[in-house]
Symmetry: C2
């Protein structure tokens, strides 16, 4: 089996081969030039700039892999800022001995996902570290996007609705199930997807109605809600009976003792929207790819200032705290 | 001693503390927001976009550290494209148990260098991986810059002069000496520096005279020259007696058997320039910070098409091949 050798990161001939024949051939001939930087034409105005590193174990999981995750994660970080993603970087840290087949599979996945998301991978870097000094492969993607609309953060108001674009907790649970070799969780799949087209579709007609957008990745929906109410006089109420959670996620959640609300999502956007527009936004999302199961899941109120909480079907109230340290499942 | 814990990468409270109190406090209050991306005002036109990951051992070396390297490396990659660096990202992969003091020292170094280079660190990401799954700390910096001048790559011509902004091989040798605990090499220091101001100074009056610019990092001067002549009908001649190499670098080079021409530089720019302007460019560089020891070190000719070679003081000719795999010292 062909494996990554120290020379693949040396700056010499083997590294040139890797970049030209393995990487650049996949990402397109104009991309990943041997120049030190890519040059892009940008329209005047504001640009969004973001970075994310992916260190997930396992590298391959039902519904995706680290490469797909790395493209979508950064595309989504730009999209939730109201930006149109235009270019990504791809920086690899590869452990010596890493199977070349796996690398090629990951790069294929990145190239395919970038194509679907209509974003170009334009610059890259590859480092090879000694065996035992990395965990297979780490991928950093940074991204830039152009902002044309109005992305001023608007103040969240009591009465605003909390919308999620689909089911909750799938990515985290799929990864945990794979890690634990839980074969009965066979239908569980990561929701890993690019949300830029979905979000652009919503912004086209509802830009002024959205107060806040975020993709609830690490820490899940509960952590994002905690962030938006922290220190404020408002609280975030989730209606338990409205939460879209699959039976597979619920089942695994019970077994692992992990609340789906704290489980990572990699293809969902959470929006806080003007109450008068929330229903329209949900109906629109349902007509768009990756938004078919969109729902209103809660409301901003003032019942527990600074807190997020769950209103149960039988009238109970449960605070959803900002978790500390090891309480959160380690997904990425 | 305070150390990095798993929770510092969990997405919970400990991670918020790390980002707000340890990272954001150093990089400036407007930077590293908890948003998913930074928003920047960009002037119309072209932008340059680049990425680089730093995996160096040791993390601290005479003349710099991984943080300083990470800022300067990306600033320089933008500068050699003729871009004015405006914003950097900072993505950290930290091994559990990494000393907090070392992290703070590295972040201080990044913040200080960014300030000197007049570039802002505007977005970031932090991942903590289990002990044994990284080598202390890896840092990825991506960067964007604006391009206002004419950066069309011009064809390199026979007769063009090869200019280096200062001494050759210092960074690689300083790192190797530190790694080998060679105490007699005490005066050896990395040349780690940001070159954007030096390059902007040259471009201001000589934009049209520069055919090519590159910072000869991994692989050194010889590898960059190989790249520019590869497959072409020209060759790159270096004049041995004109090479600015310190006695310390020469001495260590003899002991380690590493040619300084293949040793990494982290604060040098190599330019190929119109012969009529070369002398002026060198004189100008010598008046600018980090360019005090600039020299013409060679000429483009047609003697060995596709090759770089060294013309020795006694009239010899030595080809400087593109090295393969393990022939190159592993610096970063």
């Amino acid at each position: 089996m062909k494996r990554i050798l120290p020379g693949h990161g040396s700056g010499g001939r083997l590294m040139n081969d890797l970049i030209v024949n393995t990487i650049r051939s996949r990402f397109g001939s104009e991309t990943l030039q041997l120049d030190d930087a890519a040059v892009l034409e940008a329209s005047p105005g504001r640009i969004a700039f973001t970075t994310d590193t992916f260190t997930i174990t396992p590298l391959f999981f039902p519904g995706g892999d680290i490469g797909r995750l790395a493209v979508n994660g950064t595309v989504n970080d730009l999209a939730v800022m109201g930006a149109t993603p235009i270019a990504l970087s791809c920086a690899l840290i590869i452990e010596e001995g890493f199977p070349m087949d796996d690398l090629e599979r990951i790069l294929d996945s990145m190239a395919g996902e970038a194509k679907h998301a209509e974003v170009r991978i334009v610059t890259g870097d590859t480092k090879v570290v000694p065996h035992g000094k990395a965990d297979g492969i780490f991928i950093n993607t940074s991204g830039i996007g152009t902002i044309t609309g109005d992305t001023a953060r608007r103040e969240i108001q009591p009465g605003d609705r909390i919308i999620i674009s689909g089911t909750i907790g799938d990515h985290g649970m799929a990864v945990m199930a794979t890690r634990q070799n839980l074969s009965f969780a066979g239908n569980l799949r990561s929701d890993c997807a690019h949300l830029n087209h979905l979000i652009a579709g919503v912004l086209r007609s509802h830009d002024g109605d959205i107060r806040f957008m975020r993709d609830p990745t690490r820490g899940g929906v509960a952590s994002v809600l905690n962030e938006i109410v922290a220190g404020a006089s408002i609280s975030a109420m989730l209606s338990e009976e409205d939460l879209p959670i699959t039976d597979e996620v619920r089942g695994l959640s019970d077994i692992l003792g992990i609340d789906p609300l704290y489980s990572a999502n990699e293809g969902k956007v959470l929006m806080v929207a003007d109450p008068s527009a929330a229903e329209d936004i949900v109906n629109l999302m349902r007509t768009l790819e990756h938004g078919e199961q969109a729902r209103v899941i809660g409301t901003i109120d003032t019942e527990f200032p600074g807190k997020a909480y769950l209103a149960t079907a039988i009238g109970g109230r449960r605070i959803l705290p900002l978790l500390t340290e090891e309480q959160l499942p380690r997904i990425c």
